[in-house]
Structures are given as C-alpha cells and as structure tokens.
C-alpha cells in the first residue's frame, strides 16, 4: 500500500502544536536555512524543479504563480488559503489543527520566496478550534524569533496576520478571499487584473493553499529531486487525499500522485461487505463522477481531467449501490445555489432553478421535461460567471444524470417508484 508520511508525519503520535516538539523534529530549520543561505530566487528554483502544483483545487504550478509577480521591489503579499469548504475535503483542517507549525513554516518560506513582509492566513469561520490552535502556534513562533523583525539577524522582517472568515464557501475563491480580508463582502473580482498584479490592497499578491505551502518544508529539506522522483510526468510529488462516503475507513491518506483510484478506495478500507461501487467523485463537490471502468486510472491531475473530471482539492467521495443519485445531485446543487454570492445571473438564478427542479424530482413530482431541463440549464450556467462556482454546478449533475437516467426518470410524476437498491 502506497501510504507515505510526509506532511502527516507525527500527526496522532506527537504534540506538534508545541513548538518545542516541532523543533526537536527539525522544525523551522528549513525556514532558517532559506533565510540564511538561500536567495528568494533559490527557493523559487527548487520549487520549480520539484514541479509542485497547487493543492487547493486548480493545480496551477506554484513557482509559475510566484513568477507572475512584477519584479520590482515593492509591497507584496502572501495569503494562505485555509477556507477549506469544498464538500468532501478535510485535509487543511487536519493540518491546521494537528500541525500548525508546519503550516506556519511553509507560509514563512513561501513569503520569503516572493519577497513578502506581511503574510495573511484566511481561516474558515467554522474552524474555531483551528483558529485558536494556530493563534497559539503563531505566538509561540513569535516568541521564538521565527516571526517578527530582523529574523535570524538577516535583516528580513516578516509578520503574519490571522484572518477569520464568517461562513461563506465563496471566500475560498482567491479574489473573494482578498475582498473578505479587506473587510468587504466576499464577492469574487473581475479578472484580469489577476491578484499577482493587483491583489490585496491593490498590491501584487499570491494566494496559496495550506497544503501547497506546507510541502515547501519537506521540499527544501529533501530537495527538488526527491519530490520530483515520485508521481507522474506532470503531477509530481505527494498529495493528501480526503476519502469519505461509503468506505469502511474514511480519512486523510497521503499518497504519491498517480496512485490508482482503486488503491485509494482499498486504502480507505474498501466498500462495506456485499456492496457494489456505483460512482466516485474524485475532486470534491465541484467534480464530475468517474465510474467502475475508470478505477484503474492513476490519481493525478491529467488523468482525472482526461476522464472528464478533475483532481480538485483531493476529496474522494465514494458512492455504493445504496446511493440515491437524485438526492445526491439535489444535495450538491443546493449547496452551490446556497453558496452563490449572487453577482452573476447565470449562477444565482440557474442554481436556484436547478435546485427547485431537483427538489420536485426528489419528491417524485418531476415533470416529463425535467431531465432535459436539468441538462440544458446546468450547461447554460457554465462558462458565464466571474468565478468557477457557477461552473461547478454542472459536472456532478451531468455525470450522474447521464449514467443513471433511470433513477431520475423514475421520479417523474406518475411513474412507479424505482426498485429499491439490492444488496
């Protein structure tokens, strides 16, 4: 079994919330080494050679994102995205609560790599405990001289501010997050300008996911070649995969990218006895389902995209033959309709329409024309919005509607109820 312990090393064994314990295990050495012996450019080069890609959802090459910042020495910001709310994802919360110093060290290294002197971390409002844990870790690090001015006598100043959200999935979108940090409604901005040019307070800004930044620590320690030696050609390194749904041992599993999806499900204990797999959502609530015949695909960015889905945030939701896909589709569409910020009409109205249509299907009051309408409306929302939220409504709905049309047809008014799933 390909389970590895890189970011997850020590979690559940040692109290990594204590800076003493973290430092005994080599903590903050990489940040110190970067500051003392490496230039910002060196850190960027290592990250580029390692082929590290964003672990938040889009999978954009991290070094490339950094390199978009204008070269002149000016005010620039790093914002660490810990607004984890993609349905099925629970890796960032684990890192935040169990390994806050690793997250902080990753942030510090990332900030240094882009020449930033004030980094922000945006923590989801619901993560009250995570916020307290990280706040404590930050004050420990400040006392130990890891955060503040003239760090390690190098003259480099770096401060960190925690910003707590207040219940809005959309704030995980990078420009919405920046608006939220600025004290505004969490509505995404029109792009361009991209945050790299005009981000927080109008200054060049990089937004990176918690897991992405955390990987900088082992990456500096063990080198770009170590990281690039695992994974596939274009998906390098490791990934924490959050596996949930109809598996016996749901949880976070750290694996090399490219591990077959079937092995991931086995890692999580497999299905319950006697159950048959019907669908897997491989990249969180925004991703289309893949099915039985695609389980041997390697779990990497390219393969998931080729299969018509995406790796996204690395949330694998497994669904067996007890799943009611009409209800599941209603569930996710309701989620997006609820979380739409309302700026763009297709997303705001379309999501609401779909939710209503699906609701009457769930209740067995569907209309003959509803299946076509679901396809049509969800497709017409896609591609017409400021941010990817609207585009996230179609994939799951369309994939299960195509695969299990009989489940939807059975909910049209006057039809006999669908036969109960057989064991």
């Amino acid at each position: 079994m390909p389970v590895v312990k890189v970011l997850t090393a020590g979690i559940g064994e040692a109290n990594l919330r204590d800076i003493g314990v973290y430092r005994e295990r080599g903590g903050y050495k990489q940040f110190e080494r970067a500051l003392r012996t490496m230039s910002s450019k060196d850190v960027l080069d290592v990250t580029e050679r390692a082929g590290l890609r964003g672990r938040g959802g889009a999978g954009f090459p991290t070094a490339k994102k950094w390199s978009f910042l204008p070269g002149k020495a000016e005010v620039r910001y790093l914002a660490c995205n810990c607004d984890e709310a993609e349905p099925g994802t629970f890796k960032d919360r684990m890192l935040l609560e169990e390994a806050p110093h690793l997250v902080l060290e990753g942030m510090l290294i990332g900030a240094y790599a882009i020449g930033c002197h004030h980094a922000y971390i945006y923590i989801r409002g619901e993560f009250k405990r995570g916020y307290a844990v990280f706040m404590d870790a930050l004050s420990q690090a400040r006392r130990a001289g890891m955060v503040g001015s003239d760090l390690f006598g190098t003259g480099y100043d770096l401060d960190v501010t925690l910003h707590r959200g207040a219940g809005a999935y959309i704030c995980g979108e990078e420009t919405a997050m920046l608006n939220s940090i600025e004290g505004k409604r969490g509505e995404p901005r029109l792009k361009p300008p991209f945050p790299a040019v005009q981000g927080l307070y109008g200054a060049p800004t990089v937004v990176n996911n918690v897991e992405t930044l955390a990987y900088l620590v082992p990456l500096l320690e063990k080198g770009a070649e170590w990281f690039a030696s695992v994974g596939t050609e274009r998906s390098k390194g490791y990934k924490i995969v959050s596996i949930s749904g109809h598996v016996r041992k749901p949880g976070n599993y750290e694996v090399p990218l490219g591990t077959p999806v079937r092995e991931l499900i086995e890692l999580a204990g497999g299905l319950r006895p006697g159950r048959k797999l019907m669908a897997v959502q491989p990249g969180g609530g925004s991703s289309a389902c893949i099915f039985e015949e695609q389980l041997d695909l390697p779990y990497d960015y390219e393969s998931m995209q080729k299969a018509g889905s995406m790796l996204g945030s690395g949330a694998v939701v497994v669904m067996d033959d007890t799943t009611d896909f009409v209800r599941a589709a209603f569930n996710l569409v309701r989620f997006f309709a609820h979380e739409s910020c309302g700026q763009c009409t297709p997303c705001r109205e379309g999501g609401d329409w779909l939710e209503r249509v699906l609701h009457r299907l769930v209740e067995g009051r569907g209309l003959q024309t509803d299946l076509d309408m679901l396809m049509k409306v969800s497709h017409e929302i896609t591609g017409l919005n400021l941010c990817p939220l609207g585009d996230s409504i179609e994939p799951f709905l369309a994939s299960v509607l195509k695969r299990f049309p009989e489940q939807f047809e059975a909910r049209v008014l006057g039809r006999k109820p669908a036969p109960a799933a057989t064991a």
Binding site: A166, S244, V317
Partner: protein, 250 residues
C-alpha cells in the same frame, strides 16, 4: 430601552483596547470589520444594530456598508439566537452516512426546524453545508465545537446535558431573548426560512424553473407566449403592408 442597550456603552469602552489591537494588525483599518463584528458577537451573542453602529464609527465607514458586509456572512447572526447553536452538517458525505436520519431526529426532539429557535431560547437549529469532517460523518458543531459520529443516543445525552447546564461546551452569551428565528430578510423583518426552502413553493409564478399556478411549467409557458407573440407580429405586419403578406406567410 433593553438592558443590553443600556449596557452597550460600557461594553464598547471595555472592548476598545482590544479593537485598537485588532486594527493595528492590518495595513488598512477596514480589514478589521470582520474581526470586530466577531468580537461584538462573542460578547452579545448576536450582531446587534448598536454593534454595527459602533463598528461603523470605529472604522469610519457608513452603517450601510457595515450592515451590507455583515449580511453576506452566515455566521453573523443579526437576531438573538439560542444558548446552544446546533449546526448539523447536511453535506454529501454526511448524507451518504445517514445525516438525514440525524436531522430528522433533531427536528423531532427539538420540535423546531431549520433556522429556528426553541421557545425557551435554549436551542437554535440549523442545517449547514459541509463542515470538513467527512471522515467522522455524521458530524455537527455545537457553538462551533465539533461533535463527530452522531447517533440518536448521543443526541439525547447532549440535549439532556445542555438542559441541565452540564454540557462540556459553554453556552453562548444571551443578552436578549431570541424570537423563533434569526434569519432576516432584506427589509430586516423576520423570515421563516432561507431561500433553499423556496424549493417547496412550487406555485411561485416567478419561478421559471418551477410550476405556475395552473401547473404549467414556466419554460413551456414562455415558449407558448413567444409563439403567440410571433403570430401576432405576423398579423400586424400583414395589416400594415399587404405587400409583405406573402413573404410573412412563407
């Protein structure tokens, strides 16, 4: 004037140093809007009009800007809520693992539904989106503290302990008696549900995805109207200029 309103100036004075500290963490003072609202809510149990007014003064923003921002975020409660905020996850992973039964059990035990507060002001109940604890489904938060792997028995014990005042998670401050719901609509009036409950209203004529009063699907009706309109256009054109009649009829 309520007791809370009478106490408000003293609270402001007490929180002032903390407000200054928070503002100092940011490059621009407006960034302190969310943390300041959090701070007031922690003390008052909800975001009062007075709190929004105070924050608008502290940050030199218009009250409308503050209220607009506050209204965007679901964890800011603009009406008083219960001492225990029960937020049960309705996300997909929890639903696959029986969350619907858990939610039904809560509704039955509490005698209230989504976005409602019990008459005694002790419990507020909400069904919330994915809480990022899918490995421990069904999950919920009590006053934002996680509770995992829910069973009906756990719910019974939890509610009993809360009623007896012995529950492990501290009760929220309650400076004003809550009404039946804290959800407010655009006019500041109490609404009975959020928009996700609109799905039940199948006869809303403005709901193009749904049914109108005659039970005709709106999209079909729009198409029918369009056909009628086209026919009418043909008639008008033909009357105005008989010469184009043939062209139109083709």
């Amino acid at each position: 004037m309520t007791q809370r309103q009478k106490d408000f100036p003293a609270l402001c004075e007490r929180l002032e140093p903390r407000c200054r500290e928070i503002i100092a963490q940011y490059e621009q003072s407006r960034s302190a809007l969310l943390p300041l609202i959090h701070l007031f809510q922690e003390h008052e149990g909800f975001v009062s009009m007075e709190a929004m007014g105070a924050v608008s003064e502290i940050l030199d923003l218009s009250p409308a800007v503050v209220e607009s921002t506050v209204s965007f975020y679901t964890l800011f409660f603009r009406k008083p809520i219960g001492k225990y905020m029960l937020q049960v996850c309705r996300g997909l992973a929890c639903t696959l693992n029986g969350a619907e039964n858990i939610m039904a059990y809560f509704r039955e035990k509490l005698g209230i539904g989504h976005l409602q507060t019990t008459d005694d002001g002790l419990f507020s109940y909400e069904e919330v989106e994915c809480l990022a604890a899918c490995d421990r489904a069904s999950c919920m938060q009590v006053n934002l503290e996680f509770v995992y792997d829910l069973t009906p028995r756990m719910i019974d014990e939890m509610l009993d302990a809360m009623r007896a005042g012995t529950y492990a998670v501290a009760a929220l401050p309650q400076t004003e008696r809550p009404s039946s719901t804290w959800a407010v609509n655009q006019d500041g009036q109490v609404a009975l549900g959020d928009k996700s409950f609109g799905a039940q209203d199948q006869s809303d004529p403005n709901n193009a995805g749904g049914l109108d009063r005659d039970g005709i699907i709106m999209l079909d009706r729009i198409l029918a109207d369009e056909m009628r309109f086209r026919g009418r256009t043909r008639e008008l054109l033909a009357t105005a200029n008989p010469a184009i009649k043939e062209v139109v009829e083709e």
